[in-house]
């Protein structure tokens, strides 16, 4: 969706408006960036926090930070990586606010309740997406960082502040849960 609200003009008649044009161009360029990367940023946040509402707030925060650094990001080839990293870190920080809950879940052997195949969840990819979101935090986060962010076990352990063995166990458990769900589904 294109945001077409006019910018408030600063200055008086006859003033050189090249600065304003530059500002307008800046905002439009940023809008293109948001359009190009919004799905990626939202996916990173949603898969880590497992909650679409929180993911939207996190995505918004990521883009606001990107705008604050837009001078450096403009024209940079690493903008996608920058956005991915910031989204990952903000999503993990969001979960860390509930660290106690995280620990609690990490000790649980939970049976994941995935809805049966319905017309809405017929699509296998959609089912996999839901299954990822339903995984306990302690399994989902390392799994997402490993498979979608392509981080190594060591990097994940470092980022989450947990042991290497726990990272491996949690990813294995998460994969087993996903495999079980998908093989059950015809």
């Amino acid at each position: 969706m294109v945001h077409t609200a006019p910018l408030p003009l600063i200055g008086i008649d006859g003033q050189d408006t090249s600065g304003l044009d530059a500002r307008m161009a800046d905002v439009q360029e940023f809008e293109t960036l948001v359009r190009n990367y919004q799905n990626m940023v939202f996916s990173v946040a949603a898969r880590i926090v497992g909650n679409l509402v929180d993911a939207q707030d996190i995505s918004q925060e990521v883009f606001i930070r990107a705008y604050d650094h837009f001078d450096e990001l403009k024209g940079s080839k690493t903008v996608g990586g920058w956005l991915r990293t910031v989204a990952t870190n903000l999503a993990i920080n969001h979960l860390n606010r509930y660290r106690a809950r995280w620990r609690f879940f990490s000790e649980q052997e939970t049976e994941i309740d995935i809805p049966a195949a319905t017309p809405q969840t017929d699509d296998r990819r959609e089912l996999l997406e839901i299954a990822i979101q339903k995984l306990p935090d302690a399994q989902r986060v390392p799994l997402v960082l490993f498979h979608f962010q392509e981080l190594s076990y060591e990097e994940i352990a470092d980022k989450l502040g947990i042991s290497l063995a726990k990272v491996k166990t949690d990813i294995h458990r998460g994969r087993e849960s996903l495999r079980r769900i998908l093989t059950k589904t015809p």
Binding site: L7, E31, V34, N39, F42, R47, Q60, Y67, L128, F148
Partner: protein, 142 residues
């Protein structure tokens, strides 16, 4: 369902496309950006024109230093107050008060004598107070 191979899950995860961002994400982001845009632009402009702004400020300060004695703004302010009806009313009230006090002859008393009497009475009061305290203290000790 056909038994999947060992790495079929990796394949499924790899092929999983990005989720679609909610339609209201972009307007929300752009609203926040619009409000920050003006501030960011002002900061960039002030940074770019910092030497000009600094020199202008210095020039203005020098101009003020020259113009203040020449234009005498203090005189202008006083003139403004003199013409003000409120200020005139206050002056009238003060002069009426002065007249009343003068008619009471309070200012006709010799001021030197008055000050001398007040100092003398205060001195005597201090001496009496000190001797009374000393007496009370010695009585308690006994």
């Amino acid at each position: 369902m056909k038994e999947p191979s060992e790495d079929w899950l990796d394949e499924e995860l790899r092929r999983l496309p990005d989720l679609e961002a909610p339609p209201d994400l972009m307007p929300k982001v752009m609203d926040a950006v619009q409000s920050r845009s003006a501030r960011r632009w002002m900061t960039a402009m002030s940074r770019r024109h910092l030497p000009f702004l600094r020199n202008s400020g210095l020039g203005l300060a020098l101009a003020v230093m020259v113009l203040v004695p020449w234009l005498n703004p203090g005189q202008a302010v006083l003139g403004f107050f003199r013409q003000s009806p409120f200020f005139n009313l206050v002056i009238e009230l003060l002069s009426a008060g002065e007249t009343i006090l003068a008619n009471l002859r309070i200012f006709n008393l010799p001021i030197g004598w008055l000050i001398g009497v007040v100092i003398g009475i205060s001195y005597l009061a201090c001496i009496f107070a000190a001797s009374a305290i000393q007496r009370l203290a010695s009585t308690k000790r006994l």
